[in-house]
Symmetry: D2
Subunit: 350 residues, 4 copies
Amino acid sequence: MVDKIKVSLLGSTGMVGQKMVKMLSKHPYIELVKVSASPQKIGKKYKDAVKWIEPEDIPENIADLPIVSTEYEDHKDVDVVLSALPNELAEDVELKLVKQGKIVVSNASPFRMDPDVPLINPEINWEHLELLKYQKLNKNWSGLLVKNPNCTAAILSMPIKPLENLIKVKAIYITTLQAVSGAGYSGLPFMAIEGNVIPWIKGEEDKIPKEINKMLGKLENSKIKHANLEIHPTTTRVPVKVGHMGVINIVTDDNFDEKEVQKALEEFSELPQKKNLPTAPKKPIIVLKDEDRPQPVRDLQYYNGMSVAVGRIRREGNVLRLIALGDNLVRGAAGITILTLELMKELGYL
Amino acid sequence: MVDKIKVSLLGSTGMVGQKMVKMLSKHPYIELVKVSASPQKIGKKYKDAVKWIEPEDIPENIADLPIVSTEYEDHKDVDVVLSALPNELAEDVELKLVKQGKIVVSNASPFRMDPDVPLINPEINWEHLELLKYQKLNKNWSGLLVKNPNCTAAILSMPIKPLENLIKVKAIYITTLQAVSGAGYSGLPFMAIEGNVIPWIKGEEDKIPKEINKMLGKLENSKIKHANLEIHPTTTRVPVKVGHMGVINIVTDDNFDEKEVQKALEEFSELPQKKNLPTAPKKPIIVLKDEDRPQPVRDLQYYNGMSVAVGRIRREGNVLRLIALGDNLVRGAAGITILTLELMKELGYL
Amino acid sequence: MVDKIKVSLLGSTGMVGQKMVKMLSKHPYIELVKVSASPQKIGKKYKDAVKWIEPEDIPENIADLPIVSTEYEDHKDVDVVLSALPNELAEDVELKLVKQGKIVVSNASPFRMDPDVPLINPEINWEHLELLKYQKLNKNWSGLLVKNPNCTAAILSMPIKPLENLIKVKAIYITTLQAVSGAGYSGLPFMAIEGNVIPWIKGEEDKIPKEINKMLGKLENSKIKHANLEIHPTTTRVPVKVGHMGVINIVTDDNFDEKEVQKALEEFSELPQKKNLPTAPKKPIIVLKDEDRPQPVRDLQYYNGMSVAVGRIRREGNVLRLIALGDNLVRGAAGITILTLELMKELGYL
Amino acid sequence: MVDKIKVSLLGSTGMVGQKMVKMLSKHPYIELVKVSASPQKIGKKYKDAVKWIEPEDIPENIADLPIVSTEYEDHKDVDVVLSALPNELAEDVELKLVKQGKIVVSNASPFRMDPDVPLINPEINWEHLELLKYQKLNKNWSGLLVKNPNCTAAILSMPIKPLENLIKVKAIYITTLQAVSGAGYSGLPFMAIEGNVIPWIKGEEDKIPKEINKMLGKLENSKIKHANLEIHPTTTRVPVKVGHMGVINIVTDDNFDEKEVQKALEEFSELPQKKNLPTAPKKPIIVLKDEDRPQPVRDLQYYNGMSVAVGRIRREGNVLRLIALGDNLVRGAAGITILTLELMKELGYL
């Protein structure tokens, strides 16, 4: 292809950064040409700056790239800046680049709840990219900023979306069992979590309802009217490496049928699927029927980790119970950033 | 003490059996004098028949006891038969002994829901022992049968009971994260559960609501009128050795105060406490205030495992969320069997 | 290719069996046409008889195959019978099939030390297949029997072989750290091995020296003269799912150079490589230079698990220390059975 | 008791520090009166400065102590300063205190190999405390410095010592399987070591031979003549929380008998035992006969963690193989520091 999209990557040596490096190395039309990391790594070759943990080798075309800074100068000749920066560093760095004219697509939390910034989980709310039409004007930015949701919100929102037209939700009770990688490679010591459960994840229970309600919101008069679901999350950390699971109880008043729910989930398909975007899973939701699924060691690999597996669908009176599982590094982070960029190209926002 | 209660123990070589052996070895007035196990072990010394896994040595007075059968002959000279039999073996064996006149206190599931059989979690429903006054007549048994609940129901019922008079429960949504020991020592292969979550435990989601509602029931006209709580449990297995955790969301209409809830839990005290029974924890519920507690590696040891730790108490609108954790082998099994026997003695049922 | 080798597989539902099913599903000229398993599974479809644990789906062409017995009738129309039977069942079943004329290539332990039976680790001793020229006569069998070594012996022998001509070995001290899958899917309960080390594996310390010495033996007058290495193995089980590691100390009198050792290992290449056999790794030994490698979570994937990773090569006086790691299910079992069959075809033994 | 030894503790909030706090809280004559930690914690109460991980509560008499600095002023009124400082901080801090006149007993690595500093593993080389008679003069210090060995050297030296007079050692090949706590509470991320083995521990393979040879050395003319054992260690990290294991192969020329070895180990008893010191284990070495022992989950509790468990004793020709296991936090650190202080008192060095 002649016109590849040239991108740079902030936070390229972290776990999500590595996942993006790997996914982009095989991408048909997005080309990673610059990798950025923390100041003390600048100038080193990527292969010397990274503690590579993916099972396959560092892609050859990336291994020898020199680490660059997060300054505009180092990114001026790329079309888009992707960001896998830690939350605490992202606000300043990303804002500066956007003000200087860059298009930034980012996983980090700052600005996620900003009314002018689309918070995109591609199959859920690709329409929200329309905010970009007003963002420059409203913000007085020369560039553009697009956000992806928190990894858990990204996964949990998936099975909720297709039910919108099927049942009227009164309240949702969610318990998550989240993998250690969600805290970063060094986020949790072995001594703290091995053989243990830590029934609390800092900040997470606050983000989940807010981000899901924003993503499920409707565009009205160039603004997003947030949904208003009553969501009660409890988030726990379990000794699992990859894979965030959510036990979801949806309370409704409606009559509904388990089979219909299952069908709605299985047939869920949106613009990314219709346009056959390279990173889009053929089936965003995989419904499993064995009673003891989904399981992190078995059910993370569907469509390279881009699908969410859903099992144990059960109706009990007016309550729908289901269990969702997704790859927090792919579906929850690296993969949706890339898929968002594919959507932006498809919809003409580049 | 002159008048020790002499007991025998069925299923003495399993994990719960070993826990009882250990607890009874230090008991002030219950004396374990016979140990029974599966037919191929009969005649062996206990120390040769058991694969002992408790950290301390086998109690000296038990180590050389010969394994006996489950037949009446082998138990005729004990006051009470305790049973840690596997569920699938318990029905026939226990029934036979009861019909032949033995008093049996058992952890196994058969007969738990029988209207004539008390299902005792001591602090919750010691009054239900009164059923024993009618059991012989109703059943035409010469002995007596008392049951203890499923380990998860035993733990989850603890923080629900003290709230009875504080809030009116409309519905309860529970997700459990249960330890592997709940399935028995060899119940789950390492290959199946290490680094994994299995979001289903056979039979468990059926037992929990039924057993809790029976335990929370009221004695009326020599029968138990079951409570009628709407309980929606989802049970999962996590790679933890000991300790069942429950994330509990209680929906109510009432106004209530988190502080009152906390106080009601902290001050929970019942007959076992008032009578200062040897195995009764001084505080049946330990309220933890750190956000990241309770945790299996830290919060199972209160009063030798007989207390349930409760944390993350939070009110959100009309919903009360809390997290309970208990030792499934002690609070969930061995300990409440022994405490039940202490109660029976205290209340004159021996 | 017109002339595919048709094979059946004994023990097709176990972990090694599943690995073979997967590897054969993509094989250019070996076609799996019959799958056998234990009597109670006969007649069921493979997909219903197996508890499939590989991350990808069951290969389509196998999923609906009916399970057959181990009797000759069920295997008469295949060219070769592959066996992943448990050791305790293998002797009778395999012998019967060989006597009835089948060619059997097997992973199971019986007959491994029989002087008429080649014990093949392809890169180490493909020449030993020559025993097959005399086997029928010596044994009065109408078929042929070929064995593969114990998984640990298969892995440990790899780095020893290329050093044969470089240093004269006086003694070898080996400590292994072996994965739980080596005991089979249900071989070890979580409760027994999680967070633990079990410093003993039944039978293993006996097999390792004998099998390595047979594999390193020389063909002389149509017999194998075993090597005579003094090997002192201690075998331990660690809480790792896949990957057997060996810490190897080789005592010698010679002067040698670490660099030469490294070169000999890196350049190791034998008939399977020269003939470019489909399952042969391009490099049977991967030498790693980072001090903290090889590691099971990172170093099992070279050439689909067919290479052995070797690291921490160090000379200390007259002692060579190195650490070897291999995939016990692939390099230690399924993979070498298939590679052995490829060799047999290449060398005209089919 | 009137004359308690008053001690302060450097590094009191780390894992080894916490273990000492716990052990000292029940000590008959050593009284912990000051706790020190890193500068940002100074002034806080111990209970607020520590992330307490021991299962029991913080001892009451310590919980409210204010954290003090490492400066002399803060320790001038104690008899002895105990140190559980990290290696990288210990050199300057400890040296300064010793020069200002304090008696320091320390676990940290600096000065361990100093010829004037005794490196004490109590049962092995209590005689080496005699160096203290010359230390002040040789060093021109006003205080005294005593060191304890690296945790692995402390454990491995135990079964070697009693064999000194039984067999003449030609070489020792050791592979260790070490627990994660050896790297400190936050020393290894879950993502790095769970389900993995890391076959390298920084610095460890250098320390082990040197420290063991110093400890096994003889006092000659007020100096220690180091032993000269040829020790070849390979150190690995395994996903175990507590307990360092060593697989030890001892090569000799002698005729010896396994039974004699076992007897020598079982009967090992030294001054700490003879004087019945409070922290001394009755039996410093516990010989286990079951083939599958010692195991970290079962064999760390003998005499509160102060004994080393030894199993799998086997003679093979001129090679003695045995496996040793000890609690790296107690036998390897906190416990021997306290026992060393008890010895110093017993021998009149205070």
